[in-house]
Symmetry: C2
Subunit: 220 residues, 2 copies
DNA sequence: TGTCAGAAAAGTGTGGACAATAATATTTGG
DNA sequence: CCAAATATTATTGTCCACACTTTTCTGACA
């Protein structure tokens, strides 16, 4: 029963998994810009591995919606249009609604305590970056206890599809979000999954609308 | 069906794509049973290629929900439980509702004519196999014109998640399905996307319920 | 007899060489 | 000088060989 070498978990992962994580974070962080071509040999050399793990990582990243992979052409970081944003938020609205509905009953008291503190952090957040991070944590935690594997995976894919910079465009309506978050928290605390699910759905939908509007306004 | 030439000189696709298609069909056809372990070397040898294209095919099939892939362990054909069926039908109900809503406006007159004849075929179908196939075609065609790429991919994954034999358990309620199909067709013909979407959603949800019930009854 | 350590076998993971394809540069004909 | 055809180069796709992990087998020891 007693495993002795549990400490070196790093090395128990396969290479292509580690490679995948590194590339994913680079894309999400914005090191690789949307539309940029990713060359197997470059990445392989840069990371000190052969091309094979990189190829496998590409497949995974494609399935997560982060890159587009075409035969003999290579990998390109996906760039997203307004229509994409529309789709992503519409889907998130429906899917996270379902996930929250499943999750509410299963959240521990500590989960809820953490949700509560995240709401407080968002209300007190000075800069947009902090708010965005707490917001991500809040939404992740909301659906954390949902046991539907496929649903979780779909939601994850949708989150990956959003470039990192978009949340900044939402800063104009932080107060609205905060009051919505607090209402959601209330419903969750009462274990009222119906209300919580509906509130989350509306919240996400409205956020999407307002994001699209501000993008159109910026002409960006 | 002539097939021998398919594998020969279709050189425009890459090997791993062809391999992927072959394995996918084998799984869907039931040649590989749920829970069965798939060995890279076996498949590679059997198809006359190296293990590499097989590995890549595995990644794709995993993303489609057909197999489960664990590091150093290999690939296993996914087997599903009643909970899985519950999840799949709940998700299909919501997602195909959205897809139909998008699709109805964009269906061509010929699409609708084809839908109509599929409904007729189902009503006249003698054996279950034929009905099941027409049913699949009907549902696919309903969402065919939906432009939301992610949504389509999600729906495809869900369809893959259902083993081929499960729809046959539904033969007890073909009449119910037929009347529902006809109502859906009516709404689509009138280009009433709201109604069509709701009908599809309810139809799928009810189908799932009744499938689960009949599985429980069979003790299978 | 049971179980536990270590060896052998089976199977997956990775690296490097080569083949096939697409992109680019060069030549050729008008 | 330009356009089309051809040669060159860059990059991806596939194969094979070997390293690493996991599983299975074997045998010693309590």
């Amino acid at each position: 029963m007693s495993m002795n070498q549990d400490l070196r978990i790093e090395n128990r992962d396969t290479l292509h998994l580690k490679v995948c994580n590194v590339i994913r974070e680079a894309i999400i962080r914005g090191d690789f810009k949307p539309g940029e071509r990713l060359k197997q040999s470059d990445l392989a050399e840069k990371m000190g591995v052969s091309r094979m793990p990189v190829r496998e990582a590409f497949r995974k990243l494609e399935s997560e919606g982060l890159i587009k992979l075409e035969p003999h052409k290579g990998a390109v970081v996906k760039s997203i249009s307004i229509e994409d944003i529309e789709e992503i938020y519409a889907l998130r609205s429906e899917l996270e609604k379902m996930a929250v509905y499943q999750s509410v009953d299963l959240l521990t008291d500590q989960d809820i305590k953490q949700l509560s503190s995240l709401v407080a952090e968002m209300e007190n957040a000075d800069d947009a970056d902090a708010f965005v991070q707490y917001n991500i944590d809040f939404h992740r935690l909301l659906v954390k206890r949902c046991n539907w594997e496929r649903l979780n995976s779909f939601i994850g894919t949708l989150w990956n599809g959003l470039p990192q910079q978009t949340p900044h465009l939402l800063t104009g309506q932080i107060e609205t979000s905060n009051t919505e978050h607090r209402k959601i928290l209330e419903a969750v605390t009462k274990r009222d999954k119906e209300t919580a699910a509906n509130l989350v759905s509306e919240h996400i939908y409205r956020t999407g609308e307002s994001l699209i509007e501000s993008i159109r306004k910026e002409g960006k």
